[in-house]
């Protein structure tokens, strides 16, 4: 949903990933896919003139390093995972800021945006008794949409 909210914010979104499945998904969500398995994402983004901001949920020091390198001077990297920041050249006045869930007001904002049809989660459902199966599929990378348990269905 980072892509959906970024598009809502009016940004051109470049989705950097090594996963072919996620490259397809990025394309579906109106982002420009950047295949980090075959090209250096820093070079790709630099060729565009850099990006204004980066949002990092990849649990990878290397991804964070590349994100910091590819934002413009004065840009912001938002980090939603544990990762080592590494070199941060002060003269470019770049910012790295952490982010965790959201406030109650932000929760209300998200519900209002979803009710207006601006963002949508893609889900597949499982009975409560199939929770372990759903967790196993998640562990093995076999779930593309969000698995949702329906305990009282």
């Amino acid at each position: 949903m980072v892509i959906q909210f970024s598009v809502l914010a009016g940004a051109d979104v470049y989705a950097v990933t090594r996963s072919a499945q996620h490259l397809d998904l990025a394309d579906e969500l109106s982002a420009h896919p950047v295949d980090a398995s075959s090209r250096d994402p820093v070079s790709v983004l630099a060729a565009l003139g850099g990006v204004d901001a980066a949002v990092v949920f990849a649990p990878s020091d290397e991804s964070l390093r590349q994100a910091v390198a590819s934002i413009k001077p004065g840009g912001t990297v938002v980090l939603g995972v544990h990762a080592q920041v590494g070199a941060l050249p002060f003269a470019d006045e770049k910012r790295v800021v952490g982010s965790v869930v959201g406030s109650r007001q932000q929760m209300r904002d998200v519900l209002a945006l979803a009710a207006a049809g601006k963002v949508r989660a893609h889900c597949e459902t499982y009975a409560l008794d199939d929770a372990v199966e759903a967790l196993g599929r998640l562990k093995r990378g076999e779930i593309r949409a969000r698995a949702v348990l329906v305990p009282n269905a």
Binding site: G10, V13, V16, F57, V78, V81, M107, A116, L138
Partner: protein
């Protein structure tokens, strides 16, 4: 009630998490009981189950019920709750409760409250027929969204929204963002919680 419970952290395949009977929740003051309609399955549930966060004190007790993106209907309200009623549809996010009086709570940054309780880390979550919730941290779900589609809004949704809000503090037009890795916060599918929110 029926629930999925974690006895003790370990490999998923070893049977540490399984169906079981769990104590029926009863609402205290300021609390509600929700009959769970939908609960998202998050990568962070796997982290807790497999023991990745034991060093952080998660889970805080055992057996514990996983699940922290929960939608359902209110079935019971405790004292001091006059704005929610049985039958109301609500959702609960990982932020299960906060102190309400620290500088973070006072400035709308309740996710930074040091006294916060986290759904499925320090209190039972939504892999169950019923769940206890804090009324002030339960959010009415608009009619336009189904139970199932609403559930992921309560973790990857709000997580992505907060992150993008920080990337775009002002309306961006013709700007460029890059987003890096992880399916969960992209679509709705998963990795939004590589670390626990609550550390002791």
């Amino acid at each position: 009630m029926r629930a999925i419970v974690l006895d003790a952290p370990g490999p998923l395949e070893s049977g540490v998490v399984h169906r079981g009977d769990h104590v029926d929740p009863r609402p205290g003051s300021g609390q509600i009981v929700v009959r769970v309609s939908a609960c998202g399955v998050c990568r962070s549930n796997l982290h807790m189950i497999e023991g990745d966060w034991v060093a952080y004190g998660v889970p805080a007790f055992m057996p514990i019920v996983p699940g922290h993106e929960v939608v359902g209907r209110v079935v019971e309200v405790g004292s001091e709750v006059d704005w929610l009623h049985p039958g109301d549809r609500v959702g609960v996010q990982p932020l299960w409760s906060t102190c309400g009086h620290c500088p973070y709570c006072l400035t709308g940054r309740d996710q930074l409250c040091s006294a916060k309780q986290i759904t499925r880390e320090t209190v039972d979550g939504g892999y169950a027929e019923y769940m206890l919730a804090t009324a002030a941290h339960a959010h009415p779900v608009p009619d336009a969204i189904s139970d199932v589609e609403a559930a992921p809004l309560f973790c990857p949704g709000v997580t992505a929204y907060n992150a993008v809000s920080k990337a775009a503090p002002h309306p961006v037009r013709h700007g460029r963002f890059s987003v890096w890795g992880a399916s969960g916060t992209w679509s709705s599918s998963s990795r939004s919680w590589p670390a626990p929110m609550f550390t002791r």
